[in-house]
Symmetry: C2
Subunit: 108 residues, 2 copies
DNA sequence: CGTGTAAGGAATTCTGACACG
DNA sequence: CGTGTAAGGAATTCTGACACG
């Protein structure tokens, strides 16, 4: 319901276009995948496909690397952030459950 | 200012992905370009690149063709619509000019 | 008119490896 | 560790043309 569902997250962009958009080399882009920082999907033929969100993420990654942060550390950060987000989402969901139990049922 | 500027109009999708997304054949997609219904940009190497907007347009075109509308007619429609939009945009702009002339200057 | 297809070539992408520092 | 590069192959895309209806 709150879904944007849309364009930004659709994995449709091939690596060559990502290269142009980010200024990174294909080598770098593939390496960040190898280090589990980015997760393109694949075409039936095996070519990588990225989303606009992936591209933004790649640019953040590139900045951190320039600042001397190692891929391992970047990955740790990402995992921590994800955990926080998941916990927040769960709290929100449970609260909504409470609300529904109190008021939702009587809606007739 | 009212610009979405964003993802939806960026030409970044190669024809293979467009094929998957629209269900059209590459032949069809290229033919609609030949008939001036769609205008992909190109990579330095010459490959076509489409936007999400292009994809939506392609699906509308495909529907019309199935309904027996000819590409020539579709093109006429598109041109007429564009003219209408341009005229509306111009009226809006001129009205804004009036408003600015009346009130904008005294803003100090 | 709109689409399929075979043809030949060029651009794109892929993987695994060696190199450097 | 992060990146460059040459290697060989496979998938992708391109154009112009012939075919059908």
């Amino acid at each position: 319901m709150t879904q944007e569902s849309s364009y930004k997250d659709k994995k449709v962009i091939t690596i060559g276009v990502v290269r142009e958009l980010t200024g990174l080399t294909e080598r770098q882009i593939r390496y960040y995948e190898e280090r589990k920082l980015i997760f393109p999907s694949r075409t039936s033929g095996g070519s990588r496909k990225y989303s606009f969100t992936d591209i933004e993420l790649l640019m953040e990654i590139a900045e951190k690397i320039e600042d001397g942060v190692q891929t391992f550390e970047i990955r740790q950060e990402m995992i921590r952030e994800k955990k926080k987000e998941d916990a927040a989402a769960l709290r929100k969901k449970m609260l909504q459950g409470q609300i529904n139990a109190q008021f939702g049922i009587r809606k007739i």
